[in-house]
Amino acid sequence: MTDAGTAAPKEDGWAWLDRQFPALSLAVRNLSRQRLRAGLATLGIVIGVFAVVALGMLGTALQGAALEELGGLGNQVIISPAGGGESLSDRDLQAIQRAAAGHGEVVPLKSGGATASGPGGQTFTQLYGTTRPQSLFGDPSAPAYHRQGAVVGADAAQSLGVRVGSTIDVEENQYRVVAIIEGSGSFSPIRPDSAVVLPPREFVADGYSQAVVQADSGDDARQVAAGVRERLNGRQQRVSVLSLTSVLSRITEFFALLNGFLLAVAGVSLIVAGVSIFNIMLMTVSERRGEIGVLRAVGIHREQVLRTLLAEATLLGVAGGAIGSVLGAAVVIGVALTTRLPLSAVFVPTNALVALGAFGFGILVALVGGLYPAYRAAWEPPVESLRG
């Protein structure tokens, strides 16, 4: 009888899976029985996870990109004389210096408006008087120290038709253009684009009309603003302090709310997918009732039957979650490649968390969807299930 010629079943992937993870192996075979049905159940999870990943990652990316644009705004504190005063006194400036010490740099600023003309035409420009354009605009391409001539913003330079070395006319005075600065793209009330920056002594007025503090961080900006208010506005409203930190945190809050809302909508589609898994598992176990009865009769424990059935549901979730996550991430990357959304805003740790979280949630939804049908089938007395 022990005929060596009859080949024993070869040790292949199945045999290995069977030995290591019998429940998983049975589950895979069971799923392969109803491929279309398994495919449709998986599709539900794919769509749900895709929606969560796409909307979640896009939301994070948009938030990141917007904050990058607005970032400078939050670090800026602008102090001007209160109640229509003409200028800040030296005492005010000293107080501001003290309040800002250790938190950022104070740039006293004169400002005004004037018509400037150049070889290419004339235009109304914003005039700034400062010796430190670089600190003022937070733009490393601007000159660090400005003593003579004019620094012209890119937009103004274009309207006036000037290059570095050209001469422009401002209020009857002629200035040589020493630098042209591109707008940094950062969002701030003080923008270089259509401005002409002159040394402060070119201005008629003596006092500085504003002081701009470029703080090191949003927190520093908050402290500087509070310090200035405390020192100068204690008894009397001497200066008005504009800090956009709170505006920025409102914007952040808004984005968080929007993201939460989008994720909730996407989450609903994932819940629907869970219901379809529930439905399909219910169908599956009712079709295989007799089979499950046999398993129980020949000595497979209830928990083992449950494990096998849950493995089926979980596999649907794993497949759907993986496909959905990859598709969702691909679409968001595609959006970033074809629009102005920078890729760097997509590739942030939060987005990895979104993709992983959605994947996990997809699995969880499938598992929960399969729980009741599996429990009902595994706990049915075998006498009942065998009766068919």
Partner: protein, 239 residues
């Protein structure tokens, strides 16, 4: 019985006693079902012992309680009154988990419509009961399939097998655990006469190997092969 006193005495597998208790026994078992139309009594005071090495046929008309009795013997159902003993040990009070273990270790089942898993090969179906065990029963499964004449069908799935072949796979499955008792529900029910004969010959061989076989049947053929035939009518057992 006196030899196996002690509540947690070890199985008497080692000690070959002259009067070892029957592997499976029903004592005064009554089973009542509460149904919509009142109470139905499926078994009335049935006492029955499985004998090692014997084939016992239980015959009777439909609804006479045959299946209920087989379910009792297979620890798949509880009696309303009376007791079931396994090698002299009462089964009452065992948890579902323990009963499942006993079914896997000591009882073999053969069903009328084979109940093979369609996605699994013959060899894999045979070792289905041992799926979650540490030990690998593949060699034994192959050995059993060769014994029932299916050595060349090891990797065939059930839909590639004939009815008689499927039933022989089912028989091989019932033997994977070397059971004391083989319970067969209409083992020839879906087979033609010649195939039925070959399946019964297989069962005969198994009984000769020391297994107590109980077959519930309508089939005259089974009674011809049986050492003993008992008749169940309206829940009452008669020799």
């Amino acid at each position: 019985m006196s030899g196996t006193e002690g509540p947690t005495g070890p199985e008497n597998a080692g000690g070959k006693m002259n009067e070892s208790p029957p592997p499976l026994q029903l004592s005064n078992v009554t089973k009542r079902y509460e149904g919509g139309g009142g109470t139905v009594t499926a078994l009335k005071d049935v006492s029955f012992a499985v004998t090692r090495g014997d084939v016992t046929a239980i015959v009777g008309p439909s609804g006479s309680g045959k299946s209920t009795m087989l379910n009792m013997l297979g620890l798949l159902d509880d009696p309303t009154t009376g007791g079931i003993e396994l090698s002299g040990e009462p089964v009452a009070g065992l948890s579902e988990h323990e009963r499942t273990d006993i079914r896997r270790e000591r009882i073999g089942f053969v069903f009328q419509d084979f109940h093979l898993i369609p996605t699994l090969s013959a060899a894999r179906n045979v070792r289905l009961p041992t799926t979650f065990l540490e030990r690998d029963y593949t060699d034994r499964a192959i050995d059993l399939l060769r014994r029932v004449g299916l050595g060349d069908r090891l990797e065939h799935t059930p839909d590639e097998l004939s009815g008689g072949q499927k039933q022989r796979v089912a028989i091989a499955r019932s033997l994977i655990n070397e059971p004391d008792v083989l319970l067969a529900d209409e083992p020839t029910g879906n087979l033609d006469r010649d195939t039925g004969v070959s399946v019964l010959e297989e069962i005969r061989t198994i009984a000769d190997g020391g297994v107590g076989v109980v077959a519930v049947t309508h089939d005259e053929l089974v009674t011809e092969f049986a050492d003993r035939t008992v008749e169940l009518t309206d829940g009452v057992l008669r020799d």
